[in-house]
Structures are given as C-alpha cells and as structure tokens.
Amino acid sequence: MRTPYENLLAGVMRSPGVRGALVVAVRDGLVVDGRVHVGVEGEAVAALAASLYRRACRATGAAEGKGRFVELEADGGRIMIAGKNDLAIMAVLQRRANAGRVRVAVQRAADDLAAMEGQA
C-alpha cells in the first residue's frame, strides 16, 4: 500500500548504511510510517527517540514550529531526528554510514514533511 510518505522515506533509505527511516508523531512517539531493515525495532526506536527529541527540544527552549535536528552517536551507530511541527523524520544508521550525507537527506525530508503538513 502506497502512503504519502513513500518517496520521503525512500529518499532517506537510499543512503548506504541507513537501516531504517520512520515518520513519527513527536508528541506520543508513535510510528506514522516507516521502512526498517530486519532487526531494527521500529516502534521502540520511535518511542525512545521521540522522547529524547522532545527532551532535547525542551532543553534548548525550542518552540513548536521551529526546526530542530537531534543526533545521537554511539559506538554501534547513530540515530538522527529532524522535524518542524508535529511530525519528525528519524533515521537509524550503521556506524559505516556517511553521516554527512544522511544528515542532508534527513533534513531535506524534514523540510518536505513540514511542507506536507502545511498542505494537510
């Protein structure tokens, strides 16, 4: 089944080393749509990363509607989260992924997501 987020998620998944891309509702951490490789717990990533994203935004005094980008870097990989309104795009990266390239893809997807939300 095609969803409105198909192209947006595909754009993030295209980068080598990306193991998952998700559109997530920031407020409750629920998955709106996503593509994940086997072994990636999409719902857990969404719930935990959305919570972290909200906390990070609060820490920096973020108001809703202002774009924020949060990146978590660990020994075994990274998680990137970007959003502007109620929805955010998340990417799960392997260690070998080109972080700069994925970052650009995630931020572009976040812009597209915000534009789609604006149209809705």
Partner: protein
C-alpha cells in the same frame, strides 16, 4: 497502591506466569520491592517493560526499585521517562523533588515543585515540600560554592574558534563545574547543565536499549545554534556554536574541549 485492595503475591505471580502480556508485573514488582527483594523486583520490571515499553507505572516502579537499591541516577532516569510519558504524573514529581532536596539540587526541586503545584494545587505534600525548599534555600548563603563555576577553563579555546557561543563542563550530578554558556547568567547555565545532563542519561539508555552500544555524544541543532553534549569520565562537556560553523570544525572544537575537560577532571582527582 493506597485505597486499593492488595492482591496476594501468589495471585499476582500466577497471573504474570500465565499471561505474559499482563501488566500485573508492576504490582508484583512493587510487592517484591517492599519485601526487600529488589533483585527479583528489578528482573520482573525490566522484563515487563520489554513488552510494555511505555507503561508509565512500570517506569515509576522501576525508579522506586533503583532508588531502593541506591542507584539514584538510574532512578532519576526512570522518573524522567515517566515525566515524558505522562507529564501530569504527580507521584513521580514528588519523589523527584524529595530526591533533589536530598541532593541539595534546589533549582531542580523548584522547577519540579512549580510543575507539581500546577498539577495538584491543593496537595498538602506539595505545600510541605515548598516549605522544605524555602527553608533549605535560606540556609544556603548567597554566593556560596553552589554553582560558582569558573569561566576560565575554556576561555582560550572559545577565543580561538570564531562562532563559539560557550563551553561548559557539567558534573555527573548535573552541577555546573566549569565554563559559561548563556549571557543570562549562572542560573541559566545551571539549568541548561541539569537539563542536558538528563538528556544525556536518556540518550545513554536509548543507545543501550537499541543495541547501539556506548553513547559517544549528542548533537542538538536549532536554526541559530548547535549544542554538542559529550560524555567524559565524571560528567559531560557541552559545546555551543553557531550553526554556520561547519560541522567538522565544530567536531574538532568539541574534541579539544573534551581533552581539556578530561585533563581538568584528572587533575582534580589527583
């Protein structure tokens, strides 16, 4: 649990054993904790949370178990999650406030108390805790060591790199140790340190839960500024730069700030 009929340990155990999806594990874990069997309580709660990762009362109970085991940082993490999942959960705020008062983290206690007062304006415990906070604050002399951090440690590094907004070293307990960040003063710096220290703890848990291994750092970027939070032994280093500073340059700055912080903390230990 007040006001509820307690179920027997046996009945709870049977329910958890026969129905792995049951949320009775929370009550069972509480029963074990109250009996002093925190090991079993911990195992139960962690296993239950694997099936119910957003169960508010389970995170609250897990915090109580950690507290009973003397693992305060982990307890704080759990109650922080409760706060995220259910901002109106008064009980978690009350235990947090007590913990903050015990640790003399009065700024944090005040933030939580304000939130608790909004949620439960008529709660007598909230009123009692306000009194305790005011008494404790009066006892702290102005200009005491609480938060009197030096700005000198990173001053040279900040000058070297244009676009640097500030660098801070924050201790494992969230207290500002060195450096400055905002022009709004030490109080704002302290609050930022405490909040980002909590964010780092949460990031550590997220990385661990998702099997990503040890946390190396976290970047929070807005339209105007980029904040990098890096763990060091005994604390975190927070570096703020303008977003126009290229990411690679910012990463080098962070690396140098970490080295300075680690050397400083190492010297202090010696």
């Amino acid at each position: 649990m007040d006001g509820k009929t307690r179920r027997s340990l046996q009945s709870l155990s049977e329910e958890v054993a026969t129905n792995p999806n049951s949320t009775a594990f929370v009550e069972l874990a509480a029963a074990y904790r109250e009996r002093g069997d925190t090991e079993r309580a911990l195992r139960l709660c962690l296993r239950g949370l694997q099936r119910h990762p957003t169960h508010v009362e389970a995170h609250f109970e897990l915090g109580l178990i950690y507290e009973a085991r003397g693992e305060r940082e982990l307890a704080l993490d759990e109650w922080g999650i409760v706060r995220q999942l259910a901002p109106d959960h008064v009980a978690s705020r009350l235990v947090l406030i007590r913990l903050y008062l015990d640790e003399k983290r009065y700024v944090d206690a005040e933030i939580e108390l304000k939130a608790a007062r909004e949620l439960a304006p008529a709660d007598s415990t909230v009123a009692e805790l306000w009194q305790a906070l005011h008494a404790a604050q009066r006892a702290v002399a102005p200009g005491s060591a609480d938060g009197a951090a030096s700005a000198d440690l990173f001053a040279a590094l900040e000058k070297e790199q244009p676009g640097t907004l500030g660098i801070m070293l924050v201790g494992g307990d969230g207290q500002l140790l060195e450096g400055r960040m905002t022009r709004r003063g030490a109080e704002s710096d302290r609050m930022l340190g405490v909040t980002l220290s909590g964010a780092k703890s949460e990031a550590t848990r997220v990385a661990s839960h998702l099997g990503l291994g040890e946390l190396q750092g976290m970047i929070i970027e807005s339209a105007v500024a980029r904040l990098t939070v890096s763990p060091v032994v005994g604390g975190i280093v927070i570096v703020a730069t303008r977003t126009e500073v290229p990411a690679g340059q910012a990463a080098r700055l962070v690396q140098r700030a970490r080295e300075i912080a680690e050397a400083h903390l190492g010297n202090k230990e010696r």
